[in-house]
Symmetry: D2
Subunit: 353 residues, 4 copies
Amino acid sequence: MAVSPFDDPLLSGLLGDEEIAPQFSPEAGFEELNYFEEALARAEAEEGLIPEAAANAISLACAAFEPDAALVRQAATRDGVIVPEYVRQLRERIGLPHAAHLHFGATSQDLIDTSLVRRLLPVVAIFDTRLAALVSSLDDLARRFGGNSLMGRTRTQDALPITAADRIAAWRGPLVRDRERLAQLKPRLLVLQFGGAAGTRDKLGAKGEAVARRLAYALGLPPAPAWHSQRDNLAEFAAWLALVSGSLGKIGADVALMAQNAIGEVALAGAGGSSAMAHKANPVAAEVLVALARHNATLSAAMMHALVHEQERSGAAWTLEWLTLPQMVITTAAGLRTALALLASVTRLGARG
Amino acid sequence: MAVSPFDDPLLSGLLGDEEIAPQFSPEAGFEELNYFEEALARAEAEEGLIPEAAANAISLACAAFEPDAALVRQAATRDGVIVPEYVRQLRERIGLPHAAHLHFGATSQDLIDTSLVRRLLPVVAIFDTRLAALVSSLDDLARRFGGNSLMGRTRTQDALPITAADRIAAWRGPLVRDRERLAQLKPRLLVLQFGGAAGTRDKLGAKGEAVARRLAYALGLPPAPAWHSQRDNLAEFAAWLALVSGSLGKIGADVALMAQNAIGEVALAGAGGSSAMAHKANPVAAEVLVALARHNATLSAAMMHALVHEQERSGAAWTLEWLTLPQMVITTAAGLRTALALLASVTRLGARG
Amino acid sequence: MAVSPFDDPLLSGLLGDEEIAPQFSPEAGFEELNYFEEALARAEAEEGLIPEAAANAISLACAAFEPDAALVRQAATRDGVIVPEYVRQLRERIGLPHAAHLHFGATSQDLIDTSLVRRLLPVVAIFDTRLAALVSSLDDLARRFGGNSLMGRTRTQDALPITAADRIAAWRGPLVRDRERLAQLKPRLLVLQFGGAAGTRDKLGAKGEAVARRLAYALGLPPAPAWHSQRDNLAEFAAWLALVSGSLGKIGADVALMAQNAIGEVALAGAGGSSAMAHKANPVAAEVLVALARHNATLSAAMMHALVHEQERSGAAWTLEWLTLPQMVITTAAGLRTALALLASVTRLGARG
Amino acid sequence: MAVSPFDDPLLSGLLGDEEIAPQFSPEAGFEELNYFEEALARAEAEEGLIPEAAANAISLACAAFEPDAALVRQAATRDGVIVPEYVRQLRERIGLPHAAHLHFGATSQDLIDTSLVRRLLPVVAIFDTRLAALVSSLDDLARRFGGNSLMGRTRTQDALPITAADRIAAWRGPLVRDRERLAQLKPRLLVLQFGGAAGTRDKLGAKGEAVARRLAYALGLPPAPAWHSQRDNLAEFAAWLALVSGSLGKIGADVALMAQNAIGEVALAGAGGSSAMAHKANPVAAEVLVALARHNATLSAAMMHALVHEQERSGAAWTLEWLTLPQMVITTAAGLRTALALLASVTRLGARG
């Protein structure tokens, strides 16, 4: 056990995701902050807001800049966010006379929110790929076992015989729609955040729009009006994460019920062992899908609460997002990974013999 | 106080919605069941599955049929759903020999789920209209007060002066996107549910698809594969309801903060009175928006849990939806209604004097 | 379906509770307000704060006073609470010169919170009685079937044979502890709320404590410091409600799994019927217990959010309680009622034959 | 940002707790498993269930045993729990002929649950100490500033003047009761879990009770009937954690409102800095308390869902606890730590000048 199983060296193989988790490492975070500051300086130099020489110095300083993490940690405890100390250290590195031009017209939230979105870019692509792979995997199961008989059960009781294909279709439908939903929400989610101190790009005067466009282009994101206090796109994404996890949870619940000894409607290779009973073959992956579904279901509520984001920046609501969204991403990642492994381990679906 | 303030004769003016609530009345429900059974019989007669005479008799019996509610209530306590007793009484009304053809190939869930969707049809239209009205109302406020100065506040502290228009834009953005989201989810949500006992339309043989198409047409819904155990469209809708409520909650929180006596950045006509302090003018509507936001945020989690819908019908997960979704709809309805009233009551926004 | 199934004429037999629900009726509410105002006037007269004649007039007016509900509803929509208009009407009934002495030193929250607590008094007693009955019922099942063999299952797989008594003991333990918990929280929960406009009993001067003591005595509650903005006792009670519902949910989940046709470890009299399949005997009560458990689990979070109750009275947090707590009470009530019926319907537990 | 801010090297100073977090480290976990196995072997040897020599060999092997973490991680991914591989490696270390006597009559859950409880023992003591310190700190504030005037505010509006002492009393009350609640729940929470494969201590025959007693004594916990599928004590503790966090959240919300520039009812030393506005003094600690309150409020629901723990062990419900409870503990720890720092930073409370 650890504070978060997702970070735990022992449990993150079961409950975490090695491909996605690195996106939330401090290193990945600092790298993003560096990209942002460099791109911002370039954009501002191009718009004549800061000297070209300053942009060059900033660019040079940002290359592989790794701040003193201990100092950042210490300052974050006071400031509530890592950016002020990061900027201070980066300014130190840049030195006079250019340091003052760093971070011009930007605020902590611009860096943190945009860096989050940038890291969600590959995450979202991977999720879509995994969903497609799951759909393929289900299609494959349908080809192999679709004609097998299965007892259709309603309210836990035997109802009528159905086929394995019928059950598989019920697993498949939501995943196809989840891909459709993702395609629809992506243009809202994956956009630049850049608003400055109070969201109005006040320091940039008439150049605000132009800087934002250049910055967005450099960071590979569409520009957008500042959304510092409009958190609906993140909450919508969180709901999507819970939708995916929940639909995988249904697969898990069904498989666990099918795997009951007295039912035997599924055979799984490599099921889990027990410390007390050598004969056990536990449908661990199926159970994990249910646990992950309920975890994300619960957490999704917090992102809805975080919509009540007061004024131009609510430290309370913003911090609540940090406590919630990264673990929701990993919960979904782990669910997709686990579901793929579970389906790949199916050696029989439907009637025995 | 009442079990639900939404049903409470004293509080449903504050927290409920008179336009939407009737959709959840028993009368509206029975009317929908009648429509379904009549349309099903017609469709099946047209496909030659039941005699034309039976369809006529069923149609006649369905006209304004009002079952004995006391008996329905009693049976629902045993059956977990109102349909079996409703069908029994309707069969009695139809009489021999046609009664046996009623409900042919259908199951309780077909009636309950489809009747829910049919009632969501006008709800969703009303919500879209109200969102549009809110956007207009915000545009109107921007025209009237947009140039007024407002203190931009971050982390509760004075940051920089902004304009009322800036704040209004932050309120407006999510509502515009919520309309966009609604347009995208509607084709998923507003579809027929028709699957029969185990979701396979087993009794209809090769005519399943054709009956579903006719039934859907008669009920004004697109046909769709049975989604009896695929609850993602309802959960997605619930998340949307929470998104709307949450974004209205931000407006409420902001207005309540602006209405503080020491701040005075907003003036509201007709604020609430106190039983103890005659001088009070409470921003009740603003507070209600926050309460409704948190209520829907909380409830949305339950709809995500209900995605873990085992096998072909989970009585547990389905019942959980009944406990959750209707009150989420009314929470959103009340929020939209209250937000419209709140914005209409604004007599000044931004700097006093 | 209805806004709340607990208020629905068709579903409240399944999901509601006829013994407890009346506590949340408007009539019960007004009766409590009358008691409060009468007791307050008496207490204040005895302490010399208002004339004896005023107390008599108030007492007379409070006898079976039923305010015009339509006007109360209308005013509550503006004031956010029913009390100001209730007080206005009651003052009208009292007439001059005594009307001014009504409600002296009290505020809406005193009436609403205290009337809630007073109504929880019998609720809590009934819950304790039902828990005791459940424990007895389990003891009875243990006597009748305890020696029967049951398959012990871990992670959904057959582990080792246990006895029905072992399983019953796992159902019983939490209920016994829930009674213990209830006994411990009752002294915190069941106390008077009386603080006046800002919680300081400001208008009563040195007599505040004495009036509170007399008022508490008359209302059958211990006195306590004002807790208008300290909501922990209500949130603790809500958590207790969810604990009870959750432990009943485990019983329900177990019984539903035991009732599976291929398992057959339990036989239930009077199981639910289906509209499509005459052969079905659905363990509806068991499923309902799971749904109620998940409903209360979800809702309990809202009462924890309501702890963030700003300043001397948060309209937002207080209103959130109204949306949450009454339905949590009924969820628990329905769970206890349903569990008693479920256990009473068991005709066999454990190995068949 | 990191998967969990509690584990994040940059943010765990702000949101984590250095004193409590080590309890959830893998090292602390393995140490507990070692204690358990050693104590179990000793107890079983004393009861004549395994040879004295085996107990000695086990004891020797357990001393500072650190399993190969990579292998444990890998196996946990399959088994769903770290214990089977831990036991395998420990058996290897013990060697023949004694290895077979290790873990006799125990199961994974005995080790994991008991090791959790053992680690909660110091946590709970620290929490109680911190609560006491908070109460002292509030008493100190009352002594220093209690007489200062403060505006009492209801529904966000100025109501009546109160004193700082009045507000402080509202903060203090719940914390005192939380200590009382903790004292009441501790005897339920802090007990041994020992049940074997299916909770019946089947392998130990008549010696089950005696072994449990000896094991409990050695581990410094009272014995108790096996509670492997009775999770109410953990859920009750989780609710307590949310109660504490919520009451601290009210303090945070109040302080943030008091710290508004236009209000200025509190002065804080060492408030947080901004990357964009040098003049800002953000009440970061106050905001963090609100975020932590909402995080624990949300998570507490999951522990209530986990009460629906099917049969003798639900992998799904158990895993859900792992995802939830440790972070709830740290959320509370961070809240207590932050509240202490916040109160210590108060240099003025109540009316300025």
